[in-house]
């Protein structure tokens, strides 16, 4: 009886070690990139083009969120991390580079008469102080507030830039991606949401980006500093990258790479 258990345990260990060994023998892509899903679409577009240039250097891009990406870089699971938030105190030891700026657009349905809000009004809406569009010059309808989920880089950028120390109301609808948020605002005439400026014009149906304190969310206004809602997209590495990772970053900063990012709506000069 006892021998049987031992033998079975041995067989189990063997199976486990095979798993582990095969994990070590994993065929690695040239560069593994993980992190913010806000940055991910742009990174994928870059990688798609880079594959035409250097078909031998495979680039793997994974989502997971800014924090997960940074953790992955720290643990060595990824070569580069994508972050849509600033590095925290504890992360200052990492190497990072801003690949582009992304404006944050507050969007409403094109049917909405509201086109101009102050930062305070937006904060008031998201804190549920203002609950009806009529208070903002719109129709008498409840405002359907849409936000991103806890942990999202876009959400933390929005909280930092707009909310200060106020809280986003827990009555807000939560969507877990820019695309889903955009889709919902395009559907619902009484909704308000926020997405990357670069994605405002990317869906099949239109949404309207709101002027904030009279300033339209455009690349020029972000660049000259008059539009205040923007964040930096960072690539992060454990130390100064070399080899294929460096080559990929060089590609991003080449004229071709810049053009690609601008073409996708980011602010990359």
């Amino acid at each position: 009886m006892r021998g049987r258990w031992i033998r079975t345990a041995a067989a189990g260990l063997l199976g486990l070690s095979v798993c582990l060994l095969s994990a070590c023998g994993r065929q690695t892509a040239a560069v593994i990139i993980a992190g913010s899903t806000s940055v991910q679409p742009y990174a994928e577009v870059l990688a798609e083009d880079y594959a035409l240039l250097r078909p031998d250097k495979l680039i793997d891009i994974q989502g997971g969120g800014s924090s997960a990406g940074i953790t992955a870089v720290e643990s060595g699971a990824a070569d580069l991390g994508m972050s849509s938030r600033k590095l925290k105190e504890s992360e200052q030891g990492l190497w990072s580079v801003e690949i582009a700026k992304d404006g944050l657009a507050v969007i409403v349905n094109p049917a909405s008469p509201v086109g101009d809000l102050t930062l305070d009004q937006i904060c008031g809406i998201y804190a549920a102080d203002i609950q009806n569009w009529s208070e903002l010059g719109g129709p008498d309808a409840k405002i359907h507030i849409i936000t991103r989920e806890e942990g999202s880089g876009t959400r933390s950028a929005f909280e930092e830039l707009v909310m200060g120390d106020r809280r986003i109301t827990n009555k807000a609808i939560v969507q877990d991606s820019n695309g889903a948020m955009r889709q919902l605002v395009a559907d619902d005439p009484h909704s308000i949401g926020f997405i990357s400026l670069g994605l405002v014009n990317v869906g099949e149906r239109p949404v309207k980006a709101i002027r904030i304190d009279g300033v339209a969310p455009t690349r020029e206004n972000v660049l000259d500093g008059s539009y205040s809602l923007f964040r930096s997209f960072l690539f992060v590495a454990r130390s100064r990258p070399e080899g294929p990772a460096l080559q990929f970053i060089e590609f991003i900063f080449s004229p071709g790479g810049r053009l690609l990012l601008s073409g996708e709506g980011l602010i990359a000069e």
Binding site: R4, R7, T8, A11, G12, G15, T37, G63, G64, G65, S66, S67, A68, T71, K142, H144, E149, E150, G151, S152, G153, S156, R167, T169, N170, K171, A172, I173, V174, Q175, D176, L184, D187, D188, H190, S191
Partner: protein
């Protein structure tokens, strides 16, 4: 040689069974080990009955989601169970053969269709309908309940039908011989006799509803607040995991595992009661 094969085969089967069971045990252990520390830190009461969920501020209360799960599931049951039982009676007692032959494969197909397809359908038709005609943002408890009500139909229908068909013919023949009408027979003989099977079907359907994730992420709205009406957006335990797992790390991730434990326990209770009820028969 034969003796050797005999011994070997027994050992191999035993080893396979043992590894399957340890694999299944592994899941339970893993979820618990990863979730319990956070529950312990926050406190069971604060975790389960806490009203505020803001992991970035260290607030981990999942009560609104428990309420959300229960409300959506009850709604789904209110829609899916009566309709499902009617369908199973229809299939077992009334349906003409050609209709039955169309119905059964259709039900089976529906059980197999990816849940995201249901969610998509809800997003296309149900959500706009609710927004335009009933009010609110459309993404709502009601939308989730309707979608889940449809999704549990195959489970409820097939298990109830099997339990009706499993009844001895004599029950029905005896009742009809006593001069009961067909409907009286169904109501006073067939349904009571098949009761335990039908109850099990309902419980399993509820289990499916409470465990569904992707379809409801798309239509529920996922707000972490107590719903005041069926037109409000809500979040369930499963969608909490599904929507936040992608980004979570540290205590936030642990809190999602802890959510998994609560879900696990609810399902276990439901399932144990379903098994108890079927066994009692």
């Amino acid at each position: 040689m034969k003796k050797f094969k005999e011994k070997l085969s027994g050992r191999v089967f035993f080893a396979l069974a043992l590894s399957s069971i340890s694999a299944l045990a592994l899941i339970t252990v893993f979820i618990i080990v990863n979730g319990v520390p956070l529950i312990a830190e926050v406190g069971v009461g604060n975790f389960i009955f806490g009203m505020s969920w803001a992991p970035s501020r260290g607030e981990f209360g999942i009560f609104p989601m428990i309420v959300g799960s229960v409300a959506v599931t009850l709604g789904a049951a209110a829609i899916g169970v009566p309709v499902g039982i009617c369908c199973s009676i229809f299939l077992a007692e009334f349906a003409p053969a050609p209709l039955r032959n169309l119905f059964r494969p259709a039900i089976q197909l529906l059980a197999g269709i990816p849940s995201v397809v249901y969610g998509f359908w809800g997003l296309l038709f149900l959500v706009p309908f609710i927004r335009n005609y009933l009010g609110g943002p459309g993404l709502s408890l009601l939308a989730g309940a309707v979608i889940l009500g449809i999704m549990i139909l195959p489970t409820v229908i097939s298990i109830s039908e099997v339990s009706i068909l499993a009844l001895p013919r004599q029950y029905k023949e005896g009742a009809l011989a006593l001069g009961m009408t067909h409907w009286q027979t169904i109501r006073s003989v067939i349904l009571p006799s098949a009761r335990s099977g039908i109850v099990a079907a309902v419980i399993l359907g509820i289990g499916r509803a409470i465990g569904e994730t992707m379809a409801v992420i798309m239509v529920l709205g996922n707000a972490v607040a107590m719903p005041a009406s069926i037109l409000d957006p809500v979040r369930t335990l499963t969608t909490n995991i599904g929507i936040e797992m992608g980004y979570a790390s540290g205590p936030h991730q642990q809190a999602l595992f802890a959510t998994g434990i609560v879900l696990f326990v609810i399902i276990m209770i439901l399932n144990a009661s379903a098994q108890y009820i079927t066994r009692k028969r």
